[in-house]
Subunit: 321 residues, 2 copies
Amino acid sequence: MALVWCNAGLEPGSREALDRAAGRHRVVFPGGPARSILEAGPTDDSVLDADIVFGQPDPAVLMRSARVRWVQITTAGFTRYDTGAFRDFLAARACAFTNSSSVFDEACAEHALALMLGFARQTAASAAAQALGEGWRSDRLRPRTSLLRGSRVVLLGFGAIGRRLARLLAPFGCAVVAVRRSPRPGPLPEIGWDRAADALTGADHVINLLPESDATRGICDRAFFQSLRPGAHFYNIGRGATVDSAALLAALVSGHLAGAGLDVTDPEPLPAGDPLWTAPNCWITPHIAGGYAGENLATVEHFAANLRRFFRGTPLRDRVW
Amino acid sequence: MALVWCNAGLEPGSREALDRAAGRHRVVFPGGPARSILEAGPTDDSVLDADIVFGQPDPAVLMRSARVRWVQITTAGFTRYDTGAFRDFLAARACAFTNSSSVFDEACAEHALALMLGFARQTAASAAAQALGEGWRSDRLRPRTSLLRGSRVVLLGFGAIGRRLARLLAPFGCAVVAVRRSPRPGPLPEIGWDRAADALTGADHVINLLPESDATRGICDRAFFQSLRPGAHFYNIGRGATVDSAALLAALVSGHLAGAGLDVTDPEPLPAGDPLWTAPNCWITPHIAGGYAGENLATVEHFAANLRRFFRGTPLRDRVW
């Protein structure tokens, strides 16, 4: 019998689903659950008895475990686990590490398309004008509308979200190119960062889907924004720290960028009074791209499916290391 | 040599394109152009000399013509031409009548999807919260997010916009059903209004794409909204007069509808102070669904292509009568 340790902030229905999925194995929930499934709950020494860890364990405590064989985190992002020391620990213990990225792919891809269409169709600007009681502003808004059809799209990073977004964009006949560290042959053109200049200069929509790491932190800097063509739209569905906020702000204020759609910012939450809130054509959604009704239960079901794979000895889904 | 009469409000570039397209034929622009290509300019007796009419001619004046052989209007909607007297006039003169619907299909379909995703991803609510300076409202907005994937969509009316929207929705795996006066076999399930009750009761998203006519005026009435399931979303990309505004308002205020996305209203422009402006979850875009950069030139090019067909004697595109 294995011991599953879980510090994810689960509501009763999702806890029951997890208990059912564990079957004859035991699930322990340490005291003081996190407010949300996406946030780190407390990690006490009870984690050291666990064979399997599900949630957001504190890596400093977890690294004292002599027992853990598999860790699944409830988020897609895994920045605080992405250290040499933690990877060495996993390797020494032959411990698997998985994330929950496939739980959030669809929502994030739909969210990116929602932001793109929000600019093209001026629906975000219409909602803002309506909220401010500006009335029927057809004269101002209709001349700013455009079509997404046939536009040139560059994806920064190309994992599951990017692949799904490319599928959603297929009927629009967009020219989609992916920029990634290690380009591979596939259905879309993929290019390395060293060869991305032409694609970036030609793009109408540039969509940042990057995780945060030493290689990506601040990668969208002043030179990056200057390399985009005037009138381009920029989106961030990845991580706030991959963008130099001052450089983004400058590109919006100067009008070089026609707009930015940001679901993530640096810092987060974006403080009241931050100039990005009122920068021209900057639409901010408060880190909701991955959300949807039932996301907690879907996260538990994703873990439960991996649990069955773990005991069968078949490959885990969303394996990172 | 034919005489082409045009009272569309064209800017110089589009006028030149029309002159070029006409070739050896003569184009006359009566004085006092309309403010916009979509609005009716004046119609004086000069229209009576025309073989071909392009724009928004006054049907009462035009019906005195003994010469006209083809009329193309610059809009998709043709309500004021849809009278027995005008159709009799066309038939008696063997005069063709075309509209510009294919100029606006793509934009309208993209707009409908933008409104649908604006609800699913809460991007419209985010833009409104941002405009009002409400700050980072993840706690309020994330629980309201949902996926468009797999949802049940009913299209009211199924012309070119509906066909294109169905294509854009294909990667979402939605169950799409079209309700129309005369259902035909095709790639999508089509049903008549008399058999629409089950589809409407089951729909997550109901999208009104209807033209205005005696058969459709006020068709979305109190009984219609009551027949939708609680929590459904309703959209109007068709014509404002097809919806009973008081019934729609009541369905929003009671919470029966989870939201409405309206690009058209009755009356239009929607007056300041109309309760729909502040009804819960009612997002209004000011009749911009068909808009895009270059729409005037595209309207002229559509006419020019039909002009070539007219002189070749091949079938006209977007022929109504």
